[in-house]
């Protein structure tokens, strides 16, 4: 059947069989930032935002996503203008083979969205179902803590006698991309 999706801000109609999972459908349409490291739900590599919630795209029927808004890692930042989380992963050498990284970045963004000042323990808990074989989690955890600090620094600018104003962490309006307007 045809389903309607808004993927990284772009509305599209795609065909999906009843057995097709969302990861497969997204990948077939070129969204290769959705990785498949397992056969369902145990590695976290396929994480995307579906209507703002983190979901493992491999574990969700594509037809159930009909009408939703999806953001993959590609929506967060571009190579020349990385999201602060992506930038922190790069700057902290938290990326090795990179296969798990899209899912990790999505999860980290979701964490910092709801908890801008996490403890190390909270970061580890957030990443608990993201399997990474390369890094031992040490540098990814450091990267997320670093990103949190950067984002707090960027978001909270004391101006005007101590009143905080919020500015966006980078060109992307919020951590959840642009709410549907960008053309990434």
């Amino acid at each position: 059947m045809d389903i309607e999706l808004t993927i990284n801000g772009e509305r599209t109609t795609v065909e999906a069989g009843s057995a097709d999972d969302l990861a497969t459908v997204l990948r077939q349409h070129g969204y290769i930032g959705v990785k498949c490291g397992c056969d369902g739900g145990t590695c976290g590599a396929s994480k995307v935002f579906v209507d703002g919630e983190v979901r493992m795209a491999c574990g969700m029927a594509a037809v159930d996503a009909d009408g939703s808004e999806i953001q993959t890692v590609a929506a967060l930042g571009t190579q020349n203008d990385l999201h602060p989380v992506q930038q922190a992963f790069v700057d902290n050498f938290a990326v090795q083979c990179g296969f798990c990284i899209p899912g990790m970045v999505i999860q980290a963004v979701a964490l910092l969205d709801s908890n801008p000042d996490p403890t190390e323990r909270e970061v580890r808990e957030a990443l608990d179902d993201n399997v990474c074989r390369c890094t031992g989690y040490q540098k990814p955890v450091e990267a997320v803590l670093d990103a949190a600090e950067r984002m707090r620094g960027a978001q909270s600018v004391a101006a005007d006698g101590g009143h905080s104003v919020t500015v966006s962490p980078n060109a992307n309006e919020s951590t959840r991309c642009c709410g549907g307007d960008c053309d990434e």
Binding site: A19, T24, R27, Q28, G30, Y31, I32, G33, V34, K35, C36, G37, C38, D39, G40, T42, C43, A45, T72, V73, A74, L76, G77, T78, Q79, L82, Q86, F89, V90, D91, N92, F93, A94, V95, Q96, C97, G98, F99, C100, I101, P102, V105, R121, R124, E125, L127, D128, D129, N130, V131, C132, R133, C134, T135, G136, Y137, Q138, K139, P140, V141
Partner: protein
């Protein structure tokens, strides 16, 4: 600063050490190494190497744009998908394969069985090693005689993955079942079921005895171990056991094959060994090497599991049969039961020690379970002895022996550490126990004996071949121990307030090699573009380690340009020069040296053009900051001008090209000192690892950020080997693991903090002083944690994994 700054001088600053080792081959292994000019750069002179340069592909990786093999799917609209029928009995002969239902299915393009024309019936080994191959040819692409639950029997290509899987399920296989054996000690018995007849194996290995399921027996001796063990000394013996560990690379084994417009067979494949894969496919399919192209895109982790031609023949056979591109991506379940794993082993360690605490003999024996096939079996077992034993190179008598035995269990193969983790557990656990029994401090005990600069390491050479005797020219073990002790807080350890909790610290040393001595080759070429930028083509393989970045840092250091001005193309056999591949910790050392030579070759031509343009002699000129400049006059010309001038100006136009090839007889060991801080609950045996610290001497770290990442990742893998069950099997040898949850890789919350410490030395045989880093920290957590538990509550766990139950049982036994 480097601890080797006080390195021994020729006058014998190391005399006391050399006395302990009979120095028969000093001429062949000089301490003073004829190091190329400009290889030893002081930290303040380094422009690119040993800087935390951003990883070359990171921006693509974090934005999800980098392409791994499966991501090429969209390029081939005609793509078919492969799936494989695998044996569900441990041992037997296939009597019939009924493919009729599968063939009748809509969307099925081809079903291949061992009888199909497109399927080669020759024997081979999946081990991706140099030629002549040191592994037996005992495998077929598809099998009639099946030897483990998971052996491939038939293969299918279909329009989509779902259809391919359904077709596999529709295929009926009938067997004649044989007796089977899964226990390596039982397999050794003369009456055990036999996996191979002699005639079923080509390229057999030394010491094979297929009547007793023995694939190989290897060994070597230095001095007279039996006599030393007989002497008036303390003789200790312990036995250790390790798990069947999975590589658990997050990207599954994936391979895409097609025949291109030039009638050449192309494989885009997730491999560590493109050149070996090309050679192996040529051998197997009887296709000229030149007609096969192996391209390595981004690789989502290998760890040795992809130093093997595991999946490639399947899509190639199917694409030949269907005339379509075919993609084969193993399932996660197949990863655990039908790809590769670390050899589970039992290792015995025996030492003779004098009353004064001098070790006079070390004797190690390993029984390695190679599973159904022999790939990497002999060489991995060899490293059980040849990697850790040299740590104690001053010991006058040493012996190592190993039996490598077939069982009807899943296939083993190369895995990060490559035998060293098994040997390091036995040796470092054993010596710790010896020291404690003798009432000596385990750390000081090791300090008295460990290897030092100047040592002639004959233990590495005692088995001949790979580990020829070598001279140790860089060794930072003392500093590794010192800094590790500080970081873990060894000297001011506080015990918990609760009486039933006890805290302990364990340490273990480790040595690896860097490349395979006498058996490596890397090559690279650099071309200069007319805008002054460069293309670096290198056979070296980046499987996620950051090798490409290390290559361009090395090239940039020589060329005096910005790293951004170099494009790296690595590992495409049509485009890049020959290379043995990413294994044996060789990439930065071997391929990196080839890159350095290529860059120096190009630099010579650049200086020539600089000399023309500046009208100054070449000897006055140097490269740096994107220019060629003259120290004498202060004049300079940009690389861009040189690129333009070389291409478009003057009569003697040339394309500036540099080439470099590197082989070596050397394999300098990197070193590590591991510390584990554990708290054990005496009432339950439960334990918590507070922290892991590992200090590593990898020479000069070409990129310290990446090196730390390698160390931490390796240590995590090592931690898993200490605390996880690995791939468990049922009585028939069937893997009980189907997904990551069942496998039990320590997750982010289950992993203790890992602190990595880089101890810089200078290895004169490596590019800018580098040796390897990625394997040595894979070896050390099992012994360090076993030692820490011993330190905390006095009991010794020798069988991995270390669990609360095992600790509790031992505590109960002791207390009763």
């Amino acid at each position: 600063m480097s601890s080797d700054d006080e390195a021994p001088t020729a006058d014998g600053g190391t005399a006391s050490q050399s006395e302990a080792v009979e120095d028969r081959r000093s001429e062949e292994h000089p301490l003073e190494w004829d190091e190329p000019e400009n290889n030893d750069k002081a930290p303040d002179e380094r422009d690119s190497v040993s800087h935390r340069t951003e990883k070359y592909d990171d921006r693509k990786l974090v934005t999800g744009q980098a392409k791994y093999t499966a991501d090429y799917e969209e390029r081939y609209p005609d793509l078919a998908y492969a799936a494989v029928v695998r044996s569900d009995i441990p041992h037997g002969r296939v009597t019939d394969i009924d493919t009729s239902d599968a063939e009748a299915m809509d969307g099925v393009d081809a079903v291949l069985t061992p009888e199909s024309d497109a399927v080669p019936d020759g024997k081979y080994t999946s081990a991706g090693q140099s030629y002549p191959e040191p592994s037996p040819w005992d495998m077929h692409v598809l099998n009639k005689h099946v030897r483990y639950i998971g052996d491939p029997i038939a293969a299918v290509a279909a329009e989509d993955r779902t259809t391919a899987t359904a077709a596999v399920e529709a295929i009926e296989v009938s067997y004649e079942e044989y007796d089977y054996v899964t226990d390596p000690e039982a397999a050794f018995d003369e009456n055990a079921p036999q996996l191979f007849e002699d005639v079923e194996v080509e390229n057999e290995i030394v010491g094979h005895d297929y009547d007793r399921n023995r694939m190989a027996h290897i060994g070597g001796e230095l001095g007279d171990v039996a006599a030393a063990l007989d002497g008036e000394t303390h003789v200790h013996e312990t036995e250790w056991e390790t798990i069947r560990q999975s590589h658990a690379n997050v990207e599954k084994h994936t391979s895409l094959a097609y025949t291109n417009e030039d009638d050449r067979h192309v494989l885009i494949t997730s491999t560590q060994v493109p050149n070996h894969t090309r050679r192996q496919l040529a051998h197997l399919f009887d296709i000229p090497i030149r007609d096969i192209r192996v391209q390595k895109p981004r690789v989502g982790g290998g760890f040795g599991g992809k130093q093997a031609m595991v999946v490639e023949p399947i899509p190639l056979a199917l694409s030949l049969a269907t005339d379509r591109p075919v993609l084969y991506e193993a399932s996660r379940e197949e990863e655990f039961y039908a790809m590769r794993s670390r050899h589970p082993m039992k290792v015995k360690a025996k030492t003779a020690v004098t009353d004064e605490g001098d070790i006079v003999a070390i004797d190690i024996y390993a029984l390695s379970n190679t599973g159904a096939y022999g790939s990497h079996g002999m060489t991995v077992a060899g490293n059980v002895g040849s990697k850790p034993l040299p740590l104690y190179s001053k010991v006058p008598n040493a012996r190592f022996e190993a039996d490598i035995v077939h069982t009807n269990t899943p296939q083993t193969g190369a895995m990060r550490g490559y035998g060293a983790p098994q040997g390091t557990l036995a040796l470092e656990g054993h010596l710790d126990e010896v020291a404690r029994d003798l009432g000596l401090d385990p750390i000081e005990f090791r300090r008295r004996h460990h290897m030092e600069v100047g040592d002639l390491d004959e233990i590495a050479g005692m088995m001949g071949g790979e580990g020829a005797n070598r001279r140790i020219r860089s060794c930072g073990l003392d500093e590794c121990i010192e800094r590790g002790k500080d970081a873990i807080g060894y000297d001011d350890l506080e015990q918990p307030d609760e009486d039933h909790l006890h805290r302990g610290i364990g340490m273990a040393l480790s040595a690896q090699g860097t490349g395979v001595a006498g058996d490596e080759l890397g090559a690279a070429q650099i071309m200069m573009n007319e805008d002054g930028s460069f293309h670096l083509q290198v056979g070296g393989v980046d499987i996620g380690t950051g090798a490409d970045t290390a290559f361009l840092q090395i090239a940039a250091e020589v060329l005096g340009c910005d790293e951004d001005d170099i494009i790296v193309k690595s590992a495409d056999t049509d485009v890049t020069p020959f290379d043995y591949g990413a294994y044996a910790s060789s990439t930065t050392y071997i391929s990196g040296m080839a890159v350095k030579k290529a860059a120096e070759d190009a630099k010579a031509r650049i200086l020539h053009w600089g000399s023309k343009l500046l009208e100054e002699p070449v000897e006055e000129l140097e490269t740096g900051d994107g220019t060629v400049y003259s120290e004498a006059s202060g004049d300079s010309v940009t690389l861009e001008d040189i690129g333009y001038e070389a291409a478009y100006g003057g009569d003697e136009r040339e394309h500036i090209l540099g080439k470099g090839t590197h082989c070596t007889e050397e394999s300098p060991p990197p070193f590590a000192a591991q510390f584990a801080d554990v708290t054990v609950d005496e009432t339950t045996g439960e334990f918590e690892v507070q922290k892991l610290v590992v200090a590593v001497d990898c020479g000069v770290a070409i990129n310290p950020g990446m090196a730390e990442g390698q160390i931490e990742g390796a240590n995590h893998m090592s931690y898993e080997m200490a605390v996880s069950d690995g791939i468990t099997l049922d009585d028939e040898g069937r893997a009980e693991i189907a997904d990551f949850d069942e496998y039990g890789l320590p997750s982010a919350t289950e992993t203790p903090p890992i602190e990595s410490i880089l101890v810089e030395t200078h290895e004169p045989t490596g590019p800018f002083g580098a040796k390897s880093v990625a394997e040595v920290p894979t070896n050390t957590v099992p012994p360090a944690l076993s030692n820490a538990v011993r330190d905390a509550v006095g009991v010794r766990i020798r069988e991995m994994p270390i669990t609360a139950d095992k600790i509790k049982t031992q505590l109960d036994e002791r207390n009763s």
